[in-house]
Point group: C3
Chain length 438, copies 3
């Protein structure tokens, strides 16, 4: 199986692991408490921020972090001045700009752009937000903000509210919360839920289960008193014995998101869910920290800014601190190693599976076919290696036996990844000389 | 009376005082003469330049100043990448960006933006030009340029020519000149005069008087041989005994401004006033220094660039020097304190006076009502605390006696500011339980 | 003859000379091999990058070079925020921004912009690409990339392919290659050849001759098996005895360029010439290094990126190195002098020759007439001093004899440049009191 080169850098919250996060939070505390110690740590290094989508906040946060470490910054902040206008591929841009700098921060409208860029840049690439998929440094900011408040995450219940379909920060955060053992409660706006396949990956990966919980206040946000809850299977569920679904009596944090109108989101007939000062009086919210990646719209009125539970400006202020740690971990001296990030399983392009079905995938704008990778223990799931979209693979062949099986069959599960050859349709398998193995 | 938080930073030339200016000029001379002494003064500090309006010159001037002091810069220069596109308020932007930097330089299209931002930023805010009201660092540049030439301002006559209605630099400069005792002669383009209320504030504040002066050349600029002159009441006016209005025989400086077409200015039928090489031959102009904030249009032809009275490029070169002093005063070590700026009287939002009548006021774009403040010794004048626009307050109530009076009455004057409650209409006072005091 | 001020900075590859280039390449090697030695060389200096045309790559390359030397950068990267929108001239912009920095890098859409800016800036100006004429630092990058591979240029054959009409990099490179004695083979796209007058200047200047060469592969690129070759007259031409035109048997390098659609280029009916993996198998290309200034379009498919002859990303990586040397030569301490650049012959504006016939000339956008200069030994050629366009001067007068002659006559050749007075038409000479000298 021909592998893609190892991907370096920070592309996805999916690459985190608990040891990495724990070490990261401790480093962040050091940087926050003793900023002057690090003010020359990256003197002479050049960090490039290439923002092919408008963003003031995130870019400035990265650049502030670079300057706090004594690094220099080169920057592209205007989408219309970037490669696109001259028809350049992201791969070329990454290769060229990578030769100008020591680290590349990329924001890009297409899913998986950061992973693709990292294959060409020759320097570490940090995902500053790509497509609707991931925004891992924002997740580190979000998690560190809660860590400063709580110290640990187990047993905490965090609600994700608003546009889960287009909002990359909520997705990334869900992954991080599951990794740390928190309970996740979902309050999507109407028509703004994420795909089932994304949620199933979380459940599978972290041995979580899905159940439902209820509270009258939920209806004000989603139209229904019931909400999906993702939680560790190990949690004792006393409540289940009392009623079904059980009442949720307490939220420890709520993560609000803005409707991503620029990504095509539309307000459903029920309006877009947000909090009000009244909601905060409900016992459910008594100790509920409010987080928001900002900028905000109506979902979070300024009238609650002075509430002690309003944590979002503190959260914003953690942006440069967290990004300092990211830069230090990637460019700093030996004393700053963090536990390794899990490299994403690289994909294969040997067997052409055609175009990625996700029109926003970076492979589509780069004009290449999607390399696939396979995940899952209990069943084989084929994903685009860049954007993690589910590929419609229904048949799995074995290159050793030259037999082909339904992708979800036990027989398919027994094929080792090295021997696996996916087919979209059965006749393709036949044409390739595979016989039906049932 | 609920006060707004104290406003920090540099928002308006109105906050200057003569002691501040004198000390400032001396500092500027030191920085100009011994630049290397300051090249590391702000090492490790981060200065953010947020320009929500296009401006090459001013932004680069601030950034050059920052670098000359060893500071780092994070910058937003493209209006379309700023908060607006995602619907963010200036308050939120200031709060977030303020947590990324040590000082925020703001240019903004709305009047009073800098004052509003300073309430949220948590770091000093320097007004890099907001709305049509103020541009205080440009005023410091203009004044310092003249100071280098003259040493003192008393007895000097400075003409302000062109677009006084939309040009914020001329307004700010007028305030500074009056503070230093210079005579101000007004040569506005047709339909481009400033509001009477602005002029009245200068006259009141500095004990100036308005008179008229004449010269044939004025007609070439404004269509009339007569021009308004603002001057200290104390000046001996021999000329008054000779003729009325007296002939102006000498201008010491002329401050030209560009027509602010992008702010809605239009050339009147008489054309826009400017100088020519011919004008410079007139005895009136013999020792008249020419200043212009640049960029220029036809009002200042390149053909006069080599005239020794053409001071405008020298003026431009003073930009970074002056801004270095501003940064040093705000972020430098103890040896750089300047005499305190007068804090602007904070306003009250306790009594809702509705929307500010100025459509360009930052309160309008932020969607808040205008906090008011009261100025004036001889009569009560109510101003928007952000944009200084006159509020149409006709009635003044006393919270102690619960009586209401005409705002300009002697009775109103006797109400202490703490007890003052303004009303736009008499029936509002009645509804609030106030009785008519006449 | 009234001379324009001496032009400082780096404006055109035409100013190079072999001694300069040789020294430059050696400096570049030092900087490339021992980068840390130079990391503080320009600490405290401010470099301004003003890009009045979109360009990510070139701007970042310059800025990376500045930071690698410890310099600070102030930057304008958005064309719409530059002077144009407020109607400012380039001269004013250069004068003002020049007072904010120690060196100005300018990219501009108009031919000759860099030369004009250098007359006003007061600091060295480096041409970062102006109009369709020159891009001298790119030429240094291109030449240095080949120098690293070859060590010397004599006897090498370099093909220039694609849009020679609008592509400034190919023009600049041709000049540099001729200076170093290489053979230049021209493979322009249909309708995308450069002007004869440009080529004639190269032939005249370097004592080159034009001949033709052929190869079947040429037809795939230009539709003809024959191609123009510029080569030193001294080269022994054995091949000429064998056939006419002789077969070209080897290309040492090919310089591909993108079609400059944004400058008005259109694909001719034959398509735009580019290379394919198949072409690279042809013996003609066996040791042909591929260069491209990037960004690329279809003319250079990604499928050849892994070929060892693909030098274009290495070329891109040399960008900052080369620009470091440029900055060091202009701002560094004494140990970094390079042999002097030939100052361009300054022009005269004494005799008004009207508007420059090149509509893209900076004189047209600045609203001034074109200063002329005269070049050529064997015949007088009058060029615009800014954009090098041929001026239609048909008559040459002598200010000493007051006689006028045809511009190309022997009599005209004998007039010393100091006495030369050009006329566009004969009746202008008569009106000025000149008599016909035949």
């Amino acid at each position: 199986m021909q592998l893609l080169p190892v991907m370096e850098g920070l592309h996805s919250a999916e690459a985190f692991n608990p040891a990495f996060l724990e070490a990261f939070f401790q480093r962040a505390r050091e940087v926050e408490n003793r900023p002057l110690e690090f003010s020359e740590a990256l003197r002479g290094r050049i960090i490039a921020t290439v923002f092919a989508e408008p963003s003031t906040r995130t870019r400035l946060s990265f650049e502030s972090a670079a300057h706090r470490l004594g690094a220099s910054v080169i920057s592209v902040s205007d989408p219309s001045t970037t490669s696109g206008t001259k028809g350049e591929t992201l791969a070329d841009m990454a290769k060229v700009v990578g030769s100008y700098c020591d680290l590349l921060v990329l924001r890009h409208p297409n899913d998986g752009a950061s992973r693709l860029a990292s294959q060409y840049a020759g320097v570490p690439v940090v995902n500053g937000g790509d497509g609707r998929l991931g925004h891992p440094t924002q997740t580190l900011v979000d998690l560190y903000t809660l860590y400063r408040k709580w110290g640990e995450f187990e047993g905490r219940t965090v609600a994700l509210m608003g546009d889960l379909r287009h909002g990359r920060t909520a997705r990334s955060l869900a992954w991080g919360l599951a990794m740390l053992g928190a309970r996740i409660l979902l309050l999507p706006g109407k028509g703004l839920d994420w795909e089932a396949s994304f949620e199933r990956r979380i459940l599978d990966k972290f041995d979580y289960r899905l159940r439902w919980g209820k509270h009258p206040l939920f209806a004000e946000w989603t139209g229904s008193t019931e909400a999906r809850v993702l939680e560790p299977k190990g949690l004792v569920q006393k409540s289940l014995f009392r009623e079904d679904p059980p009442e949720i009596d307490r939220l420890d944090a709520m993560y609000l998101t803005r409707m991503q109108a620029e990504r095509g989101a539309e307000v459903g007939s029920g309006g877009y869910p947000g909090v009000t000062a009244d909601h905060l009086k409900n016992p459910l919210m008594e100790s509920c920290q409010l987080l928001h990646p900002l900028p905000r719209c109506e979902e979070l009125p300024a009238s609650v800014d002075h509430d002690p539970r309003a944590l979002y400006f503190e959260q914003a202020a953690m942006g440069p601190v967290v990004r300092q740690v990211v830069f230090l971990a990637m460019l700093g001296e030996d004393k700053w190693p963090l536990p390794a990030l899990a490299p994403l399983p690289a994909g294969s392009q040997e067997h052409d599976l055609g175009l990625c079905p996700n029109e926003g995938c970076i492979t589509r704008s780069e004009g290449i076919t999607a390399p696939w990778r396979v995940v899952g223990l209990a069943r084989r799931t084929f994903l685009c290696s860049y954007c993690d979209s589910l590929l419609p693979v229904d048949y799995a062949g074995c290159r050793s036996t030259h037999r082909v099986h339904p992708a979800h069959s036990q027989a398919a599960l027994r094929i080792s990844p090295e021997n696996l050859r996916p087919f979209l349709r059965r006749d393709e398998a036949t044409a390739a000389g595979y016989t039906w193995g049932g």
